[in-house]
């Protein structure tokens, strides 16, 4: 399968890349990891007239701790998340997520920022970033602006990015003590998109009750879903078996799955319930200090 012809640009700086996007207009598409874009171009689902390859721009491949945040640069690859000690110790939910994305060969190339910028509700990082309360940094002709992750996915395959903007960084606040998270996904085989996925990040107060809960759902709606009612329900509650069960049922009711080859809507909704129960339980164990 051969993509349609395109004009290729390989800017050496971010400014150059943004100037190109301004000049070329909406027919230009950014290439970072390319692990979603190139398959879509081969199937001719998309045929951009211009490709702006940002892989040659230096210093965008960082995963760093600064200003109380984990910062992930535009060219940080999934395999870097997998091998990052900070991620392993402070953000186990992020390690959970990276290792179930596609397969190790795809993760050599695929970027975390691209996983968000693609706007696909079947991608895994959106739910996790919703649970973690991340912020994305969009850089455009007028400089940088921050976008809360919950405002980033207005519709199917759509993001809050303007055509001349580049998602240059993800900022994730460091969780307070007694926090824990988990991401669970059911996939039919390695490399498949989620039949459903659930991301949970919680923080406990001194009494052991849940002071903050973030919950994101993968591939059970037109966009990644922030389970707001479930989050609100959990706030202030001790996570005993009955509360976990009620929360899981609430999360299932907040999902909006459709019948497809991966299963019926009813099946997927029940899967959200089961995965939420398990993710909450694992997050709770981790918040209490278990691995």
């Amino acid at each position: 399968m051969i993509p349609r012809s395109f004009e290729y640009f390989s800017p050496q700086t971010l400014d150059e890349a943004i100037a190109l996007l301004q000049k070329l207009g909406p027919e230009a598409k950014l290439l970072s990891g390319g692990q979603s874009l190139i398959p879509m171009m081969k199937l001719r689902l998309v045929s951009p007239a211009h490709i702006v390859d940002i892989n040659r721009i230096p210093d965008l491949d960082y995963i760093s701790e600064r200003d109380g945040h984990l910062k992930i640069g535009a060219l940080a690859r999934e395999h870097q998340i997998e091998s990052s000690e900070t991620v392993k110790t402070k953000f186990p939910i992020l390690a959970d997520t990276a290792k179930v994305i596609a397969d190790p060969l795809v993760r050599s190339q695929a970027t975390v920022c691209g996983n968000l910028a693609h706007g696909d509700p079947a991608n895994d990082h959106p739910a996790t970033m919703l649970a973690l309360g991340a912020t994305v940094v969009a850089t455009g002709p007028n400089g940088q602006r921050e976008i809360a992750i919950e405002d980033f996915f207005p519709g199917l395959f759509t993001t809050a990015l303007e055509p001349e903007e580049i998602l240059t960084e993800i900022r994730i606040p460091f969780p307070p003590p007694k926090s824990g998270g988990a991401y669970l996904k059911l996939e039919r085989k390695v490399g498949d998109f989620a039949t459903a996925g659930v991301a949970v990040q919680i923080t406990l107060d001194d009494s052991g009750a849940c002071s903050r809960a973030g919950i994101g759902l993968t591939n059970v709606g037109m966009t990644p879903i922030k389970a707001r009612q479930t989050e609100a329900f959990l706030a202030g509650k001790k996570l005993d078996e009955s509360v976990v069960q009620q929360a899981a049922e609430l999360a299932a009711s907040e999902s909006q799955p459709m019948d497809d080859i991966r299963g019926s809507a009813e099946y997927k909704r029940d899967l959200v319930r089961v995965l939420t129960t398990r993710a909450l339980t694992r997050a709770l164990d981790r918040a209490k200090g278990a691995a």
Binding site: E7, L105, Q109
Partner: protein, 160 residues
């Protein structure tokens, strides 16, 4: 047709070519350089038959443009054998019967090359995880894992 010039080091040899930007890396290797050891399997980023090592990392060459390899270093299955001597991974696949039809083998070998460079004493579970992007439809996974272990041991012992 607009072409762009690229320079790529493949198996230690520098190649220059003028290519269309849409040319996939796997087609560049097989058709431009005539290195047909790298296979095209599914052509949809699933099977891993087209795996090559670029700057130390195993990637699917059907899911990269050749222009992205400009200035980079690629190793393909043809680059494993040195001075008439099989690479420990090739030897391992031979000794442990790590292939039947052989279609997935170039990809399995190249995934192994990058993997064993980061982990020369893997568990079977780690190997299975590492090859999860490479499909073998002869269901020879058990012997492929054994072949990786054989190679890992040889490489730890410093055997070429």
């Amino acid at each position: 047709m607009t072409t762009v010039p690229i320079k790529v080091e493949v198996n230690g040899v520098e190649h220059s070519a003028d290519i269309e930007p849409r040319l996939l890396l796997v087609h560049f290797l097989r058709e431009t350089l005539r290195l047909t050891g790298t296979h095209i399997g599914c052509d949809t980023s699933h099977c891993g038959a087209c795996t090559v090592v670029m700057d130390g990392r195993a990637i699917k060459s059907c899911t990269a443009f050749a222009v992205q390899a400009n200035g980079r270093s690629i190793t393909t299955v043809e680059g494993l054998e040195q001075d008439g001597k099989l690479h420990p991974l090739q030897d391992g696949f031979f000794q442990e019967h790590g292939l039947q039809c052989g279609y997935c083998t170039p990809g399995m070998l190249m995934t192994g090359l990058a993997f064993l460079q980061t982990n020369d004493n893997p568990t079977d579970d780690e190997i299975r995880h590492a090859i999860s992007g490479n499909l073998c439809r002869c269901t020879g996974y058990v012997n492929i894992v054994k072949a990786y272990q054989y190679a890992a041991q040889k490489m730890r012992e410093g055997g070429a």
